[in-house]
């Protein structure tokens, strides 16, 4: 989709699926993505890059992305991140508000129009004049799982991944360390799906950068010692497909919670409580993806 081709028209294409919508549309009538994204892209006069944060349900995507955006807004590691549109702040606002009250944010809804979308301009303040326009949606893990299991169930996810300039794949490091094969299998399915979505010629490897991030490192600090070795030992299926089909990938570890405790609600359901917040390894995967993004994402 090229904003340059958009001229005065009675319709406006969705930034994600490129289907036409009326000028008054708030969300795309095809995929449900907010029309504010294309409006912002038109205002910026360039197409943004899409960086998707994907992963299984309950792996920590919302907390990770919310913290990442808040840390960038706080100029972590010399980054300068400017939200384009008030809606872009909703995710980090929700995550920070909940964590500050020692609660986790609610589960991301399956409905696309309930997702948080963030449109940010990001640059390094001192090291380079390059500025990146990024769109980073917070998608429901169950929706991702449904799309991977039955392609085209959630067209917006397919469109997002087709258009992704980079991806951050969160994998539950704590579950993997405990010996569960579930994280490995889900990651394998997701990478295989990505392999099918992003078309390549012949046996050529995909060049889309993928940061594989082992989440919940507070549960298993050993993941920080050597994420690559950890992945090779505990997520071998994922490791193998990365090696076979992807040209640009790297392994990282992250945690946001410093300590976790458990209570119960009125129905005796177990409720986890983040006792204090100590972000670790949040910026590094994003920084790596940024360095791998192609030239189209940068404005000089």
């Amino acid at each position: 989709m090229a904003t340059a081709t958009y001229t005065r028209s009675a319709t406006m294409p969705c930034l994600i699926c490129e289907q036409k919508n009326s000028l008054e549309a708030v969300v795309c009538n095809t995929c449900g993505a907010p029309m504010a994204l294309i409006q912002e892209a038109v205002a910026q006069d360039r197409d943004p890059c899409i960086v998707t944060v994907v992963g299984d349900s309950n792996v920590g995507k919302t907390v990770y992305l919310g913290m990442l955006l808040d840390m960038l807004s706080n100029r972590a590691d010399d980054f300068e991140a400017v939200p384009k549109g008030a809606y872009s702040v909703n995710l980090q606002h929700s995550v920070v508000s909940h964590l500050s009250m020692r609660q986790f944010p609610p589960k991301t809804a399956m409905e696309v129009d309930d997702w948080h979308w963030a449109y940010y301009q990001v640059r390094r303040r001192k090291r380079t004049t390059d500025t990146y326009d990024l769109v980073m949606p917070d998608m429901a893990g169950e929706a991702i799982a449904a799309e991977v299991a039955n392609p085209k169930t959630f067209k917006v996810i397919r469109s997002l991944l087709e258009k992704s300039a980079g991806a951050i794949l969160l994998v539950d490091g704590a579950l993997a360390a405990a010996g569960s094969p579930q994280p490995d299998f889900f990651a394998l399915k997701l990478m295989s799906y990505l392999d099918g979505v992003i078309a390549t010629r012949g046996e050529k490897k995909l060049t889309t950068p993928v940061a594989v991030v082992l989440s919940k490192g507070d549960y298993c600090p050993e993941v920080f010692d050597d994420p690559r070795s950890f992945a090779q030992s505990n997520l071998n299926r994922l490791w193998n497909i990365c090696e076979s089909r992807f040209a640009n990938y790297e392994f990282f570890a992250t945690s946001v919670v410093g300590a976790l405790a458990y209570g119960s609600d009125e129905y005796d359901n177990v409720v986890p409580y983040p006792l204090h917040i100590a972000p670790r390894g949040v910026i590094e995967p994003f920084e790596w993806v940024l360095t791998k993004l192609q030239g189209d994402c940068k404005r000089r």
Binding site: A259, A261, G263, H276, A278
Partner: protein, 342 residues
Amino acid sequence: MALKLFSRRRSNDQAAADRHGQYEGLGLPPTFESFQPASLPTLDHDALKRAFQQGRYCAILRDQHQWKDSPQFAFVVSEVHRELEQRMALVPAGTVSIAQTLSAQPGDSEEDIAVEAFLLDIHCVTNARFQHFVDAGGYDMLEHWPEEIWPHLIELEDLTGQPGPRFWRQGRHDVRLAEHPVVGISWYEAQAYSLWIGQHLPKEAEWQMAASWHLHSSTNLVRRFPWGDAMNKKRCNIWGSRIGGTVPASAFPNGAAPNHVLQLVGNVWEWTDTEYSITDGNNRPIVGEMPMHVVRGGAFDTYFEFQATSQFRTGQLALARTHNTGFRCAMNLADANWINGG
């Protein structure tokens, strides 16, 4: 030789004060390729002198009957008193209010605890000091470890499988971090060290008293931070200070409490002697997967500033050996009989 109770000693680190507490941290533990092991210190053959060199000052005072026949005894004891005068500070008596609920909202349940005056280490325990414990075979001295932890002692090893803090190698700390707080140690390791040197971990109420300075006075003044009531990221090392790792335990002299105790807020969380007990707003208990102990003060990676105050309380699994948790030691005033000329 009384401890100077309320003296505000000038910092020896004038250069640091001139930089308004700005320090370059070395960040997280060095990689294997860059690790520089600390050398083995040369210790005296005489057991009493060796104990002094190892920093076991309170143990020397506690076990005086064991040393009194030594010809060096009087001299060493006077040196011990001098060292403790410099390394410890008096925290006066007062009362603290400990939140009992997770949210700690106004009106929530609190426990008021009266705290007697006590002595507290001015600095957190450093890698260099902890090295003495490791070199002396501290991890094999079962008398300093509760029996329930004995089967787990073998798990308390460094990156190369030697007994020691988690991020050490071959039983040695990185020499560049010698004066940084020791981290990667569980509550049990902190407690064992404190017992070895003849001291103890501060109780949570004692720690809060030292940080909040809530004296028995008519003003009812409670400090949110050791230096006052407003966060100042140039007075401590938290996430917003943009250092990204630990700094020497003597850094940020401008963030000291009135009695010159340093870094009660920031740099590393500090183990206390108190088990972590907390409830939700409906009085339902909140517990960890294993026993937890209270940690206080925040660390270099504490993101929310309100989680690095004198009142904020949180917990950590007792066996957790995190990169951002250290400790300091305390001493009962009754054991400091030399203060009153005893």
